[in-house]
């Protein structure tokens, strides 16, 4: 089976992978598929964006999609997927649940001959297609950009919640870059308390900045913490000195970047295109075809004050720059 090494290739070639279905010999009819999509929590705007894009694109093909929202309960989400399988759906789509927590579902799907397609679930054996991003690579690149902005020297505060796998990958990227940049002093690595992350991050950063004003940058694991970090910096009177960077691509984070706040950049994950890409993968698999790679890594867009789209708009996911070097 494919190892994750293949993924690097696919990420660069992902824009052209949609033609893969052509080579399938035993094409089945894919005109009215019945898709069961399970999401662990549709309250999250990114998960909801993936779902919306998937459903829209699937319905355009004449498929029917049934959506289950686990409302935070992974166990219920898995059971719902099992239920879809036993009710004879043609495809199971996992929207954003960690795939490692769905291996039982995959086994049942395979036993029933049903493809298991995952969006942003992290690749594990048993997934027929994973449409996602490489968080380790993205984190390494953006952290390097932070180092560059600091000119290789500075003091950095890090906040993360390493319970989630995607956030652990980003953490690994951070440490990989740090190990090569001895000039950067990691003042403190704070494990944020979840739930209560927004308030906790605000309090913890405030507590640090109270006694240590010499912080050049704050690295946060995901952009939900951005307003807290920005506010704590402003309150400490460090808005001109300390900057913040994070991840994900929530619109309120773009607002912060656009406003010229201390939150200066993040890689924004292409959630809506992931939904569309997943529909293509489903079509291929359900038609009896094979994908060139089981892992389809999508390229994020770098968001800075220069690249952030106007309010209410999306970046051009296909052509946007990822590497800072691509901007100029």
């Amino acid at each position: 089976s494919m190892s994750s090494d293949d993924s690097k290739d696919s990420s660069s070639s992902s824009t052209s992978s949609s033609s893969a279905s052509a080579d399938s010999g035993t094409a089945k009819d894919t005109s009215n598929l019945k898709v069961g999509l399970v999401a662990v929590n549709l309250n999250s705007p990114s998960i909801a964006a993936i779902k919306d894009a998937f459903v829209k694109s699937a319905e355009a093909k004449g498929w029917s999609v049934d959506v289950f929202d686990g409302q935070g309960d992974q166990n219920a989400t898995n059971n719902a997927a099992d239920d879809f399988i036993s009710r004879g759906y043609d495809v199971i789509v996992n929207n954003s649940s960690p795939n490692e927590q769905m291996t039982g579902v995959m086994e049942k799907a395979h036993a029933a001959g049903i493809p298991f397609v995952s969006i942003y679930g992290g690749y594990v054996d048993g997934v027929d297609a994973e449409i996602g991003t490489n968080e380790f690579v993205n984190a390494s690149l953006i952290t390097q950009e932070m180092v560059n902005r600091l000119g290789g020297k500075g003091r950095v505060l890090k906040l993360n919640w390493t319970v989630l796998q995607a956030l652990r990958d980003r953490d690994a990227g951070f440490h990989a870059v740090m190990s090569e940049n001895p000039g950067i002093d990691v003042v403190k690595e704070i494990e944020v308390k979840v739930p209560g992350q927004v308030d906790d991050s605000y309090n913890q950063i405030t507590n640090v900045l109270q006694s240590d004003k010499d912080i050049d940058a704050i690295w946060i694991g995901w952009d939900e913490l951005a307003p807290s970090a920005v506010r704590a910096i402003q309150e400490a009177g460090l808005a001109d000195k300390t900057f913040v960077m994070g991840f994900d691509g929530n619109s309120f984070a773009w607002d912060l970047i656009r406003d010229g706040s201390p939150y200066v950049m993040e890689p924004a994950n292409p959630f809506p295109p992931m939904g569309e890409k997943a529909v293509q993968a489903v079509e291929t698999l359900a038609g009896g075809g094979t994908l060139p790679s089981k892992v389809i890594y999508m390229k994020p867009c770098l968001m800075t004050i220069d690249t952030v789209p106007a309010k209410g708009e999306q970046p051009d996911w296909d052509t946007c720059a990822f590497f800072p070097g691509e901007i100029s």
Partner: protein
Amino acid sequence: MTSTASVSEPQVAGPRRQTSASDRLIDVASRYGTIVSLVVCVLIFSALRPDVFATTQNFLNILNQVSILGIIALGLTVALVQGLFDLSLASMATLGGFMVTKWLAEGTISSPVLAVVLMLLVALVIGCLNGIVVAYGGVSAFIATLAVGSILTGVVLGISKSATILSGIPDGFLVMGQGKVGPVPAPVVFLAIVAVLLYVFLEQTQVGRHMYAIGGNAETARLSGIAVKRYALIALGISAMCAALGGMIVAANLGVGRPQGVGDTYLLDSFAAAFIGASTLRPGRFHIIGTVIGVLLIGVINNGLSIMGVETFWQYAVRGMILLLAVFGASFLVARRR
């Protein structure tokens, strides 16, 4: 003073006179309100989606969906019988799921059965510690279990270094969450066993009888020679064991040991189920059958609404309204009764 012996009325004199029909209606409505709501919900969902909702498969699915909530809520019911709020059950569930997978994955313990039993014992000990703090320290259960819950959260995060256990979990353990007995998923089997055991325990045993007595009037129980304090240990021990069992089934179902957030999902819902139960059949008292009905009501609402494809925000709103109606129907009539 001897003359009273001659009074020879039949000892058991029935109610003095007939109850009015409306009285009886109110009585029935207050006892069966939540059950009626449950049935109505099932009927409505069945009518709207007969092909999907009203299938054996889906009913098994509903049971499967609620099994973990059910196991946790049933344990909580034992604690609530004595008026003890157990808020540590969320982190107890997380601890249970995590520790077992850790032991098994790292080979500390190779037998899944042994690991599960050991974890249940650990939970029992922690629950008893809760009980000691409550009974002998005189701390209200609410704050004691909240504090212990915080400690447990810290312990799991410390032991795990926040990392989820992904691989090395033997199939013999996973079967606890993913296996089936005939058409019946394993978690449902566990739910049934826990429900029957705790029903017998609370309704049919001496200890259960004493627990209800303590819940009804602790002072009377104490003056009747019951060692009241000991029962807080038993109750919170059972509650902790059920929470740990629930957490282990989650871990077995997902095939991973998560270090955080497993139990929190079930915390408020398990209280909701028990409180719904306390307005069923025996208004004002927590009991196993009531909790089972509360759990089913929550399960049917969640399943029905999601099968109908109702938008998430509507699911929250409608769920709240149905809950309100279910309990309202019962209590409104009780209140009018005086």
